[in-house]
């Protein structure tokens, strides 16, 4: 079933993002340790700042699909609960479609941005690592995001169903 596959992909993506975050943690600790032991010929990890920056960007892109499938985005129920059922359904569907559209545009532009960075041969400051590498990893997260939003929209349209045995989105973190 396609939906199961997308849920599994989004969850795996979150795990990879989490591992990137753990790597950032270890990198920073190693850098601080190296700096503290400066006198012993050690030093901070070269390019630690730019690695933390790129790593955070990649992790966030990898986290977002799972946030969405778990209904983790911040919402306010103030008027929603007073709407008629049909309106509620319409609002939910519209949100899903708009989210899908927004991410399709963002992913398309991120892709274009990646090519531009590649074309201009832009690099980071210290490691002189091509900037487009980080963009490419982010594109992966963004594409998984598009799949997740598409799946959610299809479910909302009744064209697909929540995969069996997977947690249904919580009511939204307010």
């Amino acid at each position: 079933m396609m939906t199961t596959w997308v849920f599994r992909l989004a969850r795996a993506s979150a795990i990879v993002g989490g591992l990137v975050l753990c790597a950032i943690t270890l990198l920073s600790v190693a850098s601080i340790t190296g700096r503290a032991l400066n006198g012993f010929g050690l030093g901070p990890v070269p390019g630690d700042f730019e690695l933390v920056e790129a790593g955070t960007g990649v992790a966030v892109f990898l986290f977002l699909p799972w946030t969405y499938l778990r209904g983790g985005h911040a919402t306010v129920d103030l008027l929603y609960n007073h709407l008629p059922a049909a309106m509620r359904k319409a609002v939910t569907l519209a949100s899903d479609v708009l989210m899908l559209l927004l991410w399709l545009v963002l992913t398309w532009r991120l892709w274009a941005g990646m090519w531009e960075k590649r074309e201009y041969l832009e690099t980071t400051f210290i490691l002189q690592m091509p900037v487009w590498w980080a963009y490419a990893l982010c594109v992966v997260g963004a594409v998984i995001g598009c799949l997740a939003y598409l799946t959610k929209t299809l479910i909302e349209l009744g064209l697909a169903r929540y995969p069996h045995g997977w947690p249904v989105p919580t009511a939204g973190v307010h």
Binding site: R11, A14, I15, G17, G18, L19, L21, C22, I24, T25, L26, S28, V29, S31, I32, F49, V52, E53, G55, T56, G57, V58, A59, V60, F61, L62, F63, L64, W66, T67, R70, G72, H73, A74, T75, V76, D77, L78, L79, Y80, L83, V91, T92, S95, L98, M99, L102, V105, L106, R109, L110, A112, G113, A134, Y135, C138, A142, G172, V173, H174
Partner: protein, 440 residues
């Protein structure tokens, strides 16, 4: 329609979208993109801007502190640090009238010192302390209310995600904001403890009694909290005193709590996965709002509304204190229905230039820091004000047998203590700034 009119109209539209449950980040992004498109008259600049803006927003070095603080909170819970804090507090003061509730507030303050998020603090301490409170005979209203209020200490006491965002928006020093937040955070905890002691005197049946714990066990329980103390000193002490940047501090915190969790046997493949899911969902939520707010604020800047409004307010010659009061009241009202991060991201670009243009008899940096702490407090009140108070929902969700209305009622005196504290800190900037002035 001029840009300013357009921006003025965009507020009701945005709030309308948010209130019918369009995700906040999405609503802000859409309003921002549509508004900017309107002003530009062509989609080309926007499409070009989007080539880089998502990546540069998410890979901002200052923001990288946020997922790390969230991961740190997850690990702290896995390591049982929340439990050891509560046990220690309970051992020392649990036998007093209302003591278990006070212990819960104290433990929240302790957990707040190693966790940057209110929701995480409320959820974690709720899981630990709620069953104990009920077992000790505390009423549903008081049990849930003291934990919901205590949870706000997660963000009032540094480290604090909201302060990080404020620091970035206003280009202030994160370490100084953390230092300034410390005394108001402690005052908040003291205020909540005073509320509890009055509460249990007015409603004696809302609290049970506990047997005093022998002195030896008290010291043992206190000794069990050493990882919390070490990690707090390392993180906040390290950030302020000189060893590392806030992001590095958060990394040290995540590493330290992760190590503590592993040593306590709480960290394995399964719990690590759960910790990552929790971090992922919260991080995704925050960054979606940050992205949306960035797009919306670009539109606002293009419209010139913030600049013109600040000019207008300054030109009116209103009393600075009146303007400050109005702004704080707006935050309190917005806080009834919105979450803290969205509120700050949405309003600081408008309110901050206004405040900085007024004379409170402080240096610009002092004004910025003092205003930041006041904003922090009033937006956090929003977490415990009905009808939409996130901490209320989190705690109430843990206590299935307590109707939400009881929680609403129980939290009222805590909200009053918040308001009193806000008034005092607004009237006497010196309380907030004393720590800064002493270390300058």
């Amino acid at each position: 329609m001029t840009g300013i009119e357009l921006a003025a109209w965009s507020f009701p539209v945005l709030l309308g979208l948010i209130f019918i449950r369009v995700p906040i980040g999405l609503a802000m992004a859409l309003c921002g993109l549509v508004g900017a498109y309107w002003i530009y008259g062509t989609p080309v600049p926007l499409l070009n801007q989007l080539k880089q803006v998502t990546f540069t927003t998410f890979s901002n070095y200052n923001l990288s502190v946020i997922p790390l603080f969230l991961l740190m909170g997850q690990f702290a819970a896995l390591g049982g640090l929340s439990r050891s804090l509560f046990k220690a507090a309970e051992a020392w003061i649990g036998h007093y009238k209302g003591g278990v509730a006070m212990a819960a507030v104290g433990a929240c303050a302790g957990f707040g010192a190693i966790c940057g998020s209110s929701l995480a603090t409320a959820a974690t301490m709720g899981q630990v302390a709620l069953p104990e409170l009920r077992r000790a005979g505390y009423s549903g209203a008081l049990s849930t209310a003291c934990l919901a209020a205590g949870g706000t200490l997660g963000i009032l006491i540094p480290p604090s995600v909201v302060l990080v965002i404020y620091a970035i928006l206003t280009e202030q020093n994160i370490a100084k904001l953390f230092l300034a937040a410390f005394i108001p955070g402690i005052l908040a905890a003291i205020g909540y403890i005073i509320v509890i002691s009055i509460y249990v005197r007015l409603k004696p049946d809302s609290a049970g009694r506990m047997e005093p714990v022998p002195m030896r066990e008290r010291w043992q329980a206190l000794a069990g909290t050493w990882p919390v103390i070490v990690i707090f000193l390392a993180v906040v002490g390290g950030i302020y005193s000189g060893i590392f940047t806030p992001t590095e501090g958060a990394a040290v915190g995540a590493f330290g709590t992760g190590l503590a969790a592993w040593l306590a046997g709480g960290l394995n493949a399964k719990t690590l996965r759960e910790a990552i899911y929790g971090t992922a969902i919260a991080t995704g939520m925050i960054f979606m709002i940050v992205l949306g707010a960035g797009l919306y604020n670009t539109f606002l800047a293009l419209s010139q509304l913030p600049q013109e409004l600040a000019q207008w307010v300054i030109g009116q010659g209103l009393s600075p204190w009146l303007v400050l009061t109005l702004i704080l009241v707006i935050y309190l009202l917005l806080g009834c229905v919105m979450d803290s991060l969205s509120m700050i991201l949405l309003t600081i670009p408008i309110f901050f230039p206004m405040i900085m243009g007024l004379d409170f008899g402080l240096t610009p940096e002092e004004t910025a820091i003092w205003f930041g702490i006041l904003v922090l407090i009033v937006v956090e009140v929003g977490l415990i004000t009905p009808p939409v108070g996130m901490n209320l929902f989190v705690i109430n969700n843990l206590a299935r047998d307590v109707p939400i209305v009881h929680t609403y009622r129980g939290v009222t005196p805590f909200v009053i203590s918040d308001l009193v504290r806000t008034a005092i800190l607004a009237a006497v900037p010196g309380i907030t700034l004393v720590a800064l002035r002493l270390t300058a």
